[in-house]
């Protein structure tokens, strides 16, 4: 069933909001200094029944964790408990203003302090900056702290080392701060070679940005050595925390020599992705970087909690600046706190183990029909396949992934990381039952065998059964249509009522 745009069905003079008694208020004398709007924005209005139906129908065109397994490697699409949503909507959290007097938000500050404390304990790091709004924002925050620390030392280093397998945000973040990016190749086994790192290290290197576990689904086995080498060179170790889910409660980044790491609350701590956001990306910091953490932060004292919002309030610290207005993604903190409390120390560790177990189960069950680029070694919470098994079949990674849609699954992450050809990165998370994993495995085996048989029809045109078939992305980019515009006026046709 097709669903038109609100711009095609809505009407500017219709509203789904009544103002009741207040309607009269609108007639008051204006104090706008002559700046009244001259041209009204064109906003289609709909009554509530129309609005509900429009967005319910649109929602039905989406895939979601609640409707099926979401094997997107590096994205950690896990179950979002409904309790978390309920807690975030308590008026004491959801209906509190960021600039209310501190005396009226003691519980809110306590909540932030609570999440901070748990994040520090889980990562073994002494400090955390809570305000970054998402993972990439956290990266920016961490790298800013590094830059500030270097500046405090009077050094202006120019280079950041980033492995080939890194998320694109890593080099983009470094570049945003004016750094040049030097790429480090991966070893045969998919990990970063400590020798390759040492080779690039110099007094021009500000930091290395490593993802660990890395995007090949492997733990960087030389990480401690790498960290030591980096520190020896006077540089800092930024760790991309996107894959924290694999090691939660088992390994502490602080024990590995990490100086800064962002934490995606929307991955590891189950705050919902919401079709692409909002995220939340607190950054844990080492002793060396802690003094440079950005404003604001929460402090606790004998009279309760307080907020440090200005540098003048914290004479012993040297905050490098402010990442955003206000205090960070409070709504996400509440959800994460709910998840943390629910799991506890034992449940979090179990979650990490189950995530790793499930990824390895998929690896073991598919290795004979798909291909593992780095051989038969255990993976962490995600397993990376390449397209060797599709060679000569006429089926591409993209085709294979799109064919999964017809089987009722969201595709895995494709063509990432860049270090292997035709990458397929699968992350089941700890939220899937064994029955669900078995069905997923059976489906992928079936597809892999169909590809092997040369059943290319099933792949080339896929998906067939989704709300849309393959979309022309080239056309979208070449002739961008980024908003609705009114259709060109046509000759008025003789009026034809649908009812006639």
């Amino acid at each position: 069933i097709e669903e038109a745009l609100s711009y095609e069905t809505g009407r500017a003079d219709v509203s789904g909001i009544d103002f009741g008694d207040l309607d009269g208020e609108a007639d008051i004398e204006l104090h706008l200094g002559g700046l009244e709007r001259t041209e009204a924005p064109h906003l289609p209005g709909m009554t509530e029944p129309e609005t509900i139906r429009h967005y319910v129908r649109l929602s039905q065109k989406n895939y979601a964790i609640d409707t099926g397994l979401y094997p997107l490697g590096s994205c950690t699409m896990k179950h979002n408990p409904r309790l978390n949503e309920k807690m975030a909507r308590l008026p004491g959290f959801g209906d509190v203003h960021p600039l209310q007097p501190v005396s009226t938000v003691q519980g809110a500050l306590e909540l932030i302090d609570f999440v901070a404390t748990w994040l520090k304990e889980l990562t073994g790091m002494p400090a955390v900056a809570m305000s970054p709004k998402a993972g990439a924002h956290g990266e920016l925050c961490g790298m800013m702290a590094i830059k500030a620390a270097l500046e405090a030392r009077g050094e202006a280093r120019s280079l950041v080392l980033v492995p080939e397998s890194a998320h694109g945000t890593n080099p983009a973040t470094a570049a945003l701060l004016g750094y040049k990016v030097a790429s480090i190749p991966a070893r045969e086994d998919g990990t970063v070679d400590v020798a390759a790192v040492k080779e690039k290290l110099s007094d021009e290197v500000a930091a290395i940005m490593l993802t660990n576990p890395n995007t090949c689904g492997l733990f960087e086995r030389d990480i401690i050595e790498i960290a030591e080498a980096v520190h020896e060179a006077g540089a800092y170790f930024y760790c991309d925390g996107a894959n924290l889910n694999a090691i939660l409660g088992r390994v502490r980044p602080g024990d590995l020599g990490v100086d800064a790491m962002h934490i995606n609350l929307h991955k590891t701590f189950s705050t919902p992705h919401g079709g692409g956001g909002p995220g939340a990306g607190p950054v844990v910091l080492s002793e060396a970087l802690a003094p440079f953490a950005p404003l604001p932060w929460v402090v606790s004292g004998p009279d309760g909690f307080d907020l440090v919002e200005h540098a003048g309030q914290a004479p012993d610290d040297r905050p490098f600046g402010r990442m955003t207005a206000f205090h960070g993604q409070m709504g996400m903190f509440v959800r994460a706190a709910s998840w943390m409390l629910s799991h506890g120390a034992d449940g979090m560790r179990q979650a990490a183990e189950d995530a790793v177990l499930s990824a390895n189960y998929i690896r073991a069950a598919l290795q004979d029909v798909m291909s593992l680029p780095f051989g038969d070694q255990p993976c962490m919470h995600e397993v990376l396949f390449d397209d060797t098994f599709l060679e000569g079949t006429g089926v591409s990674t993209l085709d294979f992934a799109k064919a999964m849609i017809d089987e009722g699954y969201h595709p895995m992450t494709m063509y990432f990381p860049l270090v292997v050809h035709g990458a397929m990165l699968i992350e089941p998370t700890e939220s899937e039952s064994k029955a669900s994993l078995d069905l997923f495995i059976a489906t992928l085996r079936d597809l892999a065998m169909a590809a092997g048989r040369g059943d290319t029809d099933r792949f080339a045109g896929a998906p067939w059964y989704s709300p849309r078939r393959r979309l022309d992305e080239t056309r979208a980019a070449r002739q961008p249509v980024l908003r609705w515009t009114p259709p060109p006026p046509t000759e008025p046709e003789p009026r034809r009522d649908a009812a006639e």
Binding site: S6, S15, M46, K61, A64, A108, R252, S431, W484
Partner: protein
């Protein structure tokens, strides 16, 4: 554990299938030195009932805005959000879906973003908008960087009455990125010297209206001067509802319009998550940061939507990307879109007028309290008053009487000496009784 579907029997069967004796073997890649034998030093798992009890107790230690006469603004505003908005954004298919990278099974989210982009462009009076930023402050930072890219200059001029947090974000980015920022001091009454600072090195001028004290600013002369020097005008707003009544930045000549969308569809949430609105002219679209949904057709020729122009983005361009941003504020943008669709042009205009009326009533009433001076002459739903003595103390005393009366300017600008000013907002949620309670409490506090 209620969220973990694997039973111990499942785990054993799976380990057997993998061919390892235990879970530890799967962590063999982790250096032994990094293994933690013991659990983190944190409490064990709790029941839903216990978690609810603990967090509810914490929440109860806050004064919820809806429980008292409430007039706090300065960048975040309390409005009424229809129940249908919150219902719809909690639909599993919206709440628990990922970024719509697979358009075949993400048309719901993509079409919403396309509607959102159109609404934001219309609201701001611009040609195109992106699929949202984290919030208004980070969006402002991105806007400045975008202006640098377009003009190939690196000096931004900030008006004094830009929200100080927004200014701090811009300054921080500039400092870290090696750019220049010239920022004027705040001016609660009258105009600052922003015009005088624009020169041929200026990349952009950043002006907020309504500004942080509530003043409406005529952007036309600033746009004219900026354009004369080859600079761009970045117009900022923190109260999106104002666009229903106040002249649009686009109509006044802005090149980039950026602001906070929280007021529409989103609650206060103690500061986040919010939704940054970002719009510009069509010719600048390839320099725009952030995600974009675009229209195209599928293999059968049917209209459909995709994320597009991603060659600007970090996952393709890596260090050459326009920004490192890789999320938008999807769910907040959805709430914004639904609420604005419910409002429509007519509803938004009425809502905006009611907001204005609400604040006009309050401004008059407060201005008549002995000792209080109303400073703002032209405003939307927020204005500034001068009180005798410390505004900070007055606000605290009001809070003790159960009225949240606004933000002391000293909290916003601790180093600028405006210790006797309170920034006060009044919206459609405030009743005559709320306003009367404020007046009465203020008289008591001052009396």
């Amino acid at each position: 554990m209620r969220y973990l579907p694997l039973s111990d029997a499942d785990r054993e069967a799976m380990l057997a299938r993998i061919g390892v004796p235990g879970i530890d073997e799967l962590f063999a890649g982790v250096p032994r030195a990094a293994w933690r034998a013991e659990l983190p030093d944190l409490p064990l798992a709790r029941s839903e009932m216990e978690v609810e009890r603990l967090l509810s107790r914490m929440a109860a230690r806050n004064v919820a805005a809806g429980s008292v006469p409430f007039f706090v603004g300065a960048g975040a505003y309390r409005h009424h959000v229809p129940a249908s908005v919150d219902h719809l954004i909690q639909r599993s298919e919206f709440l628990t879906s990922y970024t719509p990278y697979q358009p075949e099974i993400s048309q719901g989210t993509l079409q919403v973003l396309f509607e959102f982009q159109t609404q934001v462009a219309e609201l701001t009076g611009m040609e195109v908008a992106n699929a949202s930023m984290y919030d208004g402050s980070t969006g402002t930072g991105e806007a400045v960087l975008m202006a640098h890219r377009i003009t190939r200059r690196e000096k931004a001029v900030l008006a004094g009455n830009l929200h100080p947090h927004y200014r701090a974000v811009v300054e921080n980015l500039a400092h870290m990125g090696g750019h220049e920022v010239v920022a004027l001091p705040p001016v609660p009454v009258g105009e600052d010297d922003v015009l005088a600072l624009i020169d041929d090195d200026t990349s952009c001028v950043v002006v907020q209206s309504p500004d942080v004290f509530g003043n409406l600013v005529d952007l036309k002369p600033i746009a004219e001067k900026a354009h004369g020097h080859g600079a761009l005008l970045i117009a900022v707003f923190t109260e999106a509802v104002s666009l229903g009544l106040v002249e649009s930045p686009g109509a006044m000549g802005a090149d980039i319009v950026v602001g906070e969308g929280q007021s529409i569809g989103n609650g206060l949430n103690f500061g986040g998550p919010y939704v940054g609105l970002f719009a510009t002219r069509a010719k600048f679209v390839r320099q725009m940061p952030g995600r974009l949904a675009g229209e195209t057709v599928d293999a059968e020729g049917r209209r459909g939507f995709v994320l597009t122009l991603s060659t600007r983005e970090q996952h393709i361009r890596r260090e050459k990307a326009t920004s490192n941003i890789c999320t938008n504020s999807g769910l907040c943008a959805l709430a914004f879109t639904i609420h604005l669709t419910l409002l429509g042009t007519a509803g938004l205009r009425t809502l905006a007028r009611i907001n204005h009326a609400s604040s006009v009533k309050l401004a008059k009433a407060l201005g008549e309290v002995p000792g209080v001076e109303l400073l703002t002459h032209a405003w939307f739903n927020e204005f500034t008053i001068r009180v005798p003595g410390s505004a900070h103390a007055v606000v605290e005393d009001l809070a003790a009487k159960g009225v949240l009366g606004g933000v002391p300017a000293s909290r916003l600008f601790p180093e600028n000496g405006h210790d006797d000013l309170i920034v006060v907002a009044s919206t459609e949620v405030n009743t005559d009784e709320d306003r009367a309670a404020y007046v009465a409490a203020l008289k008591e506090v001052l009396g």
